[in-house]
């Protein structure tokens, strides 16, 4: 194995060098033809020429400027030609154009649709203060299936947990509401006493729950989701204090939540866990 000799190639003589070199060569020839010895002829040719390096540099600068200008112009021209060509080709085959445009449209549409879902479900956090510190506690059965906690389990987690600041609960039931126009089915969240504060809920109107409501038999009260209030009651402010019948038992409307105040699944109304709705369905 031999090592290749990497002597650099002699530099390619530039156009300017060739041009000026030709001039000097012609001058030397002429002087030699007149009988001047070659060395002397070369010296005199250089002297007549003057500042060789200055001339060479100046020529190269001018040429470089011209070249830059030309390449800018030709870039713009080529770009325009490409666009014009693309338009001509697309116009000549409308079928292909239609398919290409549809493919792009569907592709972009599908992408942005998927992104919207991924953004909402995976990337955006829950709409609560300190959402990154919220955890869901579940019971995992020996076969690996997660289940919601039973009421006694919740109580013992709440008593015994040291890794959480607070432990709150909700459960969801579909219940029938009567006594206000047509009977309708409500998704009712039954919540523990600290949940509104934990999630930073705000009331639009009314007083909401007080601690007494959470005591056993503490009161048959209900607060409404903002959207449900608008849908079912036409956003009437006089719903406060009105009595409706939930699953056959009367409940007094004690407040309406602000639009953003809600559980992750959108529900219609909330009741204290120990209030209007008995615990076990």
């Amino acid at each position: 194995m031999t090592r290749l000799d990497r002597r650099p190639d002699p530099p390619i003589r530039s156009d300017v060098e060739r041009e000026l070199g030709f001039h000097l060569e012609m001058r030397v020839r002429e002087l030699v033809a007149q009988g001047v010895p070659p060395d002397e002829a070369r010296r005199r040719a250089m002297q007549q020429f003057g500042d060789y390096e200055g001339s060479e540099r100046e020529c190269a600068d001018i040429d470089a400027r011209v070249e830059r200008r030309a390449s800018r112009r030709s870039f713009a021209r080529e770009l325009w030609q490409d666009v014009a060509y693309a338009v001509r080709v697309l116009r000549r085959s409308p079928g292909f154009t239609l398919v290409a445009v549809l493919t792009l449209a569907l592709g972009i549409g599908a992408n942005s649709a998927i992104f919207s879902v991924v953004n909402g479900v995976l990337l955006e956090s829950l709409p609560y203060r300190d959402a990154g510190h919220l955890y869901r506690v579940r019971t995992v059965y020996p076969d690996g299936t997660p289940y919601s906690l039973s009421a006694p389990d919740f109580m013992s987690v709440r008593e015994g947990a040291r890794v959480f600041d607070r432990v709150e609960a909700y459960s969801i039931a579909a219940l029938t509401m009567t006594g206000s126009g047509e009977p309708r089915e409500l998704q009712v969240g039954r919540i523990s006493d600290g949940l509104p504060a934990l999630l930073g809920w705000q009331l639009a109107i009314g007083q909401g729950f007080n601690l007494g409501h959470f005591a056993p038999g503490g009161g048959d009260v209900l607060i409404l989701d903002h959207g449900f209030w608008q849908r079912a009651f036409g956003a009437a402010p006089d719903v406060l204090g009105r009595t409706v019948t939930i699953a056959g038992r009367p409940a007094v409307i004690a407040g309406v939540l602000q639009p953003g105040s809600r559980l992750p699944p959108a529900l219609d109304a909330y009741a204290p866990r120990d209030g209007v709705v008995s615990f076990s369905p």
Partner: protein
């Protein structure tokens, strides 16, 4: 002497462009031919050296007054030949007229009697 010489050179530098255009009005030529013709036609235009011809040629080419192309010289060497463009021809006509006008103005001024020559000095 130095300043007189360089002032002269400045004037002649302005004339160099028009002399190049004139040299090419007879047909394509390479730099050496142009330099030789200018030296014989107007002794001083290349007073700063024949080398000053080349930047002037490249500048004229950048302005679009001349065009260049590599070709073979009479003694069979590669040389860069310059040709006058239409724009260059128009420029030569314009410059020629301008020089004629200012030269005529200068000549008539030089031919006129000086202010004091009529004998009525103060």
């Amino acid at each position: 002497m130095g300043t007189a010489r360089s002032a002269n050179a400045d004037i002649l530098k302005g004339t160099l462009d028009v002399l190049i255009l004139k040299a090419l009005s007879g047909g394509p030529a390479h730099g050496y031919t142009i330099a030789t013709w200018i030296a014989s036609a107007s002794g001083d235009a290349l007073a700063l050296g024949e080398g000053t011809l080349y930047p002037a040629l490249h500048r004229l080419e950048a302005r679009g007054w001349v065009r260049s192309r590599w070709g073979t010289s009479a003694n069979n060497r590669q040389a860069k030949f310059y040709t006058l463009t239409r724009k260059g021809e128009a420029q030569l006509t314009l410059e020629t007229r301008r020089w004629q006008r200012s030269a005529a103005a200068l000549f008539s001024a030089l031919a006129a009697p000086a202010p004091g020559a009529s004998g009525t000095d103060r």
